[in-house]
Every structure is written in C-alpha cells, then in structure tokens.
C-alpha cells in the first residue's frame, strides 16, 4: 500500500483524463463527445510538447509541424494506398519521430531564442513545401475518400471509434510523460533545463538526450495528426501547420505549469474551456482573443510557474501529490 502514494503523480492525471473520456460515454451526447475530443487532443499535444518544453527547457514554437507532417503522411497511406487507420496512425507517428530525429540532429545545437526561431522557420518551410508537393495534393490538400469509412461500419461508427483512439493516444502521452519524468533519462533532461553545460560536465550526453526528448515529443503529435485528419475528412497546408495552434499549445503548458505531468492537462482544460466560453458568450465573442491575451499576460507576469507550480509552492503538502 505504500507504493500507490508514490504513484499519485500519474494516478491523478489518469483519473482526470478517464473522467473526461467517460463523460460523453455516460451522457451519450454526441456534442459532449466532440468537446471531449477537442480537449483530449489538446491534452495529448500539450503533454507531448511538455517533454521538450517543460523537462528539457527548449522552446519549440513550431511543434505543430509534427502534427501536420505525421497527419499528411498517415492520411496519404490511408487514402491513396488503402491502408487501415491503425497502420496509418503508426506510420504517421514513425514519420514524425524520424523527422524529429533528423531535425534534432541539426537544430538542437541552437539554444534559447535561436532554437525557437528555427522551429518557426521549419514549420513555415514545411507548410510552404506541402503547398508545392504534388504527392500531397499541393495547395488543395487531400480529401478523404468517403468509402474509407465503410471499413469501420460507416461514418458514424468511425467517428465514435476515433474518439476512443484519441483517448488511447492521450493516455499514451500521459504515460510517456510520466515515465520520462521519473526516469534517469528524464533527470538528465531536467539537468539540461537547469544548466546545459553543467549537465554535460556531470555526464549527461546532452546531444543524444535532447534528440531523444525531441523524438519522444514528436511521435504522439504525429499520430494525433493522422487521427484528426482522418476524422476531419481532409487536410490542407494551413490546416496542418497552423502556427497559432502551436503557440496555443505553449500557452496551455504555461497555464498549467511547465515540467509537470498534470500541468498540461489543467492548462488544456482551462484554455479550451475559456475559449469555449468566450466564443459563445454574447458579451465577449467579438473580443475573445483580446480577453485570452489579457489572461495570458497576467499569468506570464504574475504566475510564471503556472497553476501546478503555484499550488506546489503555496501548499507544501501538495508537493507529493501533484507531479
């Protein structure tokens, strides 16, 4: 029984996400399922980003590139080659991981803002490339052949299936995040975050550790991309590589708390919830972006550690519970 106390760091996040998955299942409401899907997607992406951003301390502004690239590759195989969605997701994840590996070898040498700038450049270069790449349909993108859904028992069935796959991917992201945080590898990443040169002196092979952190943070977004575009039915360059969504992910991680497992979950909840409220409210809908901006600014200026970091500092008893 002593053991589960140590595992609280993963139990609470898993319970939160499980609740989110069960909510539409219990209410049986399709609208709730869509809301839940959006939040799950945000959690999976933000948790993945957190491995690089929160643990390793590298600011990736263009993380959405892995989502878009994986999505494109996966959808290409599902749509044009007739592969199943399962292998499509797998291929998308592998493609994104491979891209991250190659990119990581090159750009992870850059530090601080230079790295952030390079990731913006990569996202934009990729978007412009997809615009010109005929295999991926150029500027029009790819439209999923409707008959693809037949293999999964029609569009409605396929839609509910994507929800559960999304849930599975979110759990996978959480578990990766937790294991990285508690492993020796993760300790090395945290050391890099605090002081890269000192970490190297202490025996962390920083180029390798950074590259693997980058790869780990890229795989799940690639898979989510395939799933989302499969559900969405089509993919086009602006949809696949939206720089703004990339920054929204940073906002979520920042809101919840950098470098914690629970943080990105809370951040995704809070951000999507706030956005959902602002977009639909009569009073705020015209200036919803400004209100989000003000909230973000206040958090950056006054609670830079995010919700989880703030709670941990204020209430020491929570330090065991919130990881």
């Amino acid at each position: 029984m002593k053991n589960w106390r140590h595992q609280l760091g993963i139990i609470i996040p898993v319970l939160v996400v499980a609740g989110l998955v069960l909510w539409p299942v219990i209410t049986g409401n399709n609208l709730n399922r869509e809301t839940s899907f959006t939040i799950l997607k945000a959690i999976a992406l933000a948790s993945s980003l957190n491995i690089l951003l929160g643990y390793t301390g590298y600011v990736s502004f263009g993380h959405i590139v892995f989502y878009g690239f994986g999505g494109y590759v996966g959808l290409y195989f599902v749509n044009e080659q007739g592969w199943s969605i399962w292998t499509g997701i797998l291929v998308g994840g592998i493609a994104s991981g491979l891209l991250a590996f190659l990119l990581g070898k090159a750009i992870l040498r850059l530090r601080g803002a230079y790295f952030a700038l390079a990731t913006i450049g990569i996202n934009e270069a990729m978007k412009a490339f997809a615009n010109n790449f005929d295999l991926f349909g150029g500027p029009i993108g790819m439209v999923l052949n409707f008959s693809v859904y037949k293999a999964y028992g029609g569009a409605a069935k396929a839609l509910s299936m994507t929800f559960f796959i999304m849930a599975g991917l979110t759990f996978a992201a959480l578990i990766i995040s937790h294991f990285v945080r508690t492993s020796k590898f993760g300790l090395g990443l945290l050391a890099i975050r605090e002081n890269e040169d000192a970490a190297e002196v202490m025996g962390v092979v920083t180029p390798d550790a950074k590259t693997w952190a980058y790869v780990l943070s890229a795989i799940i977004p690639g898979m989510v991309g395939v799933l989302f575009f499969f559900k969405n039915g089509h993919v086009e360059p602006p949809l696949a590589f939206p720089l703004n969504s990339s920054i929204e992910l940073l906002v979520m991680v920042m809101l919840g708390g950098l470098g914690t497992v629970l943080g990105p979950i809370l951040g995704a909840f809070a951000y999507q919830g706030m956005r959902g409220y602002l977009v639909t409210s009569d009073f705020f809908k015209d200036i919803q972006l400004s209100v989000s901006g003000v909230v973000l600014l206040l958090i950056v200026l006054f609670i830079p550690a995010g919700a989880v970091g703030w709670l941990r500092r204020r209430i020491p008893a929570l330090r065991r519970v919130l990881a």
Binding site: L53, G57, V59, F61, A106, I107, R109, L110, G112, A113, Y114, A116, L117, A118, I120, G121, I122, E124, A125, K127, A128, F129, N131, N132, P139, L243, I247, L250, V251, M254, L258, D286, I287, Q288, L289, S290, V291, S292, G293, V294, L296, L297, V300, L301, P304
Partner: protein
Amino acid sequence: MQQLNLLLTSLPDGILLGFVFGLAAMGLALIWGVMNVINLSHGPIIALGMFGTFIFFIRLGIHPYLGIFLVAILGLLLGVFIYFTAVHRVINSPHLSSLMATFAVNMIIIGIGTAVFTTSPYNVDFNMGSFRLGSTTILGTRLIAALFAILFTGGLYLFLYKTRPGKYIRAVTNNRAAAELMGVPSTRILALSFGFGTMLAAVSGGLIATFFPFSILSGSGYELKSFVISVLGGLGNPIGALIGGLILGVLEGIIPSFLETSWVPVIEFALFIVILLVRPTGLFGVKR
C-alpha cells in the same frame, strides 16, 4: 532570354520592396539586440501601422506621406506603453516568458483590431503614378516607400551614433549591467528602444499600405519575413537588417524567373534555417 527579361522586370520591384521589409525587420532586430526579446507582437503592430495610414488618409484626409510621421509617433508611444505593461517585468526571465508576454500583446491587438476593423481586406486608394525604367514599370508609391525606408534608416543610424540616448542604447546593447554602473538609466533606455522597434514596424506597415491591400491579420506574413531578414542581417544588428531586406527582395525578384512563385517561401525559410545553423550571428553579424 525571356527569363532574363522577367528577371529585369521583377528585380527592381524586389529591391524596392526589400527596403520596406528591411525597415520592419530593423525594428525586430533592434529590440532583439538591446534586450534579447523576440517581439512576437511585431506583426500586429505592422498591421496597426497599415490601419494608421488608412485612418489618417481616408478618414481624416491627411496625405499618407505626412501621416507616416504621425504613425511613427503613435508607434513610438505604443511601444513604450507595451514595454512598461508587458515586457518590463519579464525582461530578466527566461526566453519563454518574454515570448509569451509579447504573444499575449499580439493576441490583444488582433482581438481588438478584429472587433474594430473586422478581418476583411482594406485598401488605401492612393496613386503616385509610375514611370518606365528600361523594360520595367516602377510604381511611384514603391519608390517613395523605399526612399522613406532609407530616410528612417539614416535617421536611426544618426540617432544611434550621434546622440546621447543613442549611445546609451548601444551601451545597453553591449552590456546592460556595465551601462547601469556607468549611470545609464537602463529602464528608460529599454523602453525607448522598444518604442523605436515598434515605431519602425508601424512605419513600414504604413508604407506597405500605400501599395498593397491589407487586413488586421496580414501582419503575420510580414512578421515572418522580418524574422528571415533579421537573421540574414544578423539578429541584433539593426543596420544589417536593411541589407538583409535587400537580399530577400532580390531573392524574391530572382527566384520566380526559374521556379514557380509558390516555391519562394520554401527557399526563404530553408535559407533562414541554414543561416541560423551555420552563422547565427547573421551574414554581417559581429561576434557577440
């Protein structure tokens, strides 16, 4: 031969635009150089400059080239205001904080701008005629915009090298702690530099508005261009940014003569990444 002709027609235009883009990038590079902050509100401020020209000219009937000075003053004040509300508290924090803070400003401006102007495109109906140069036609508005860009660059250069506040700015760029010990009022200088950065962005936006249609969202494209340019010219090297702008303008003029135009951004961003990797101080950057 046909390609050479195409090159000759598109090159002068590219160069003229390059000056204006370089002016915007100069603002970004100045802020980066002085305080190590990447200003993510750069794009919306360019867009605000565009709307500045629009309002002064269409609504108030002020001549655009007179209005540009009003845009400059407002841009300077806005920058100082942004500095004290959003940037000052995070100036010594890790990069993520200042990136997020300026991005929050970006969201606020775009949100208010969308509410006021909607996202539909605007156009300043303004014409300065055109003249022929060999086989190519040059629009008067673009030539004057390029001249204004050179004027503002020259002004900035004189300010940085000949006046006391300008020397303070360069001192803070070099080493803020040492400058403070020498009695430089660093907070005021940082605010002033941020103001100059946004001023240059707003002015370039105001100039662009005289020949391109625009919306409140069109700033982001120019912001990305500014990133590329300031990396070409060396982040933190404002004068180099003008040369970076010229290089970009020339590239945009040359590439379409042997590749489809849609490949231009691919090459630009690939170049951007390569330069970041090989020479992060830029082509003309000094070692920091």
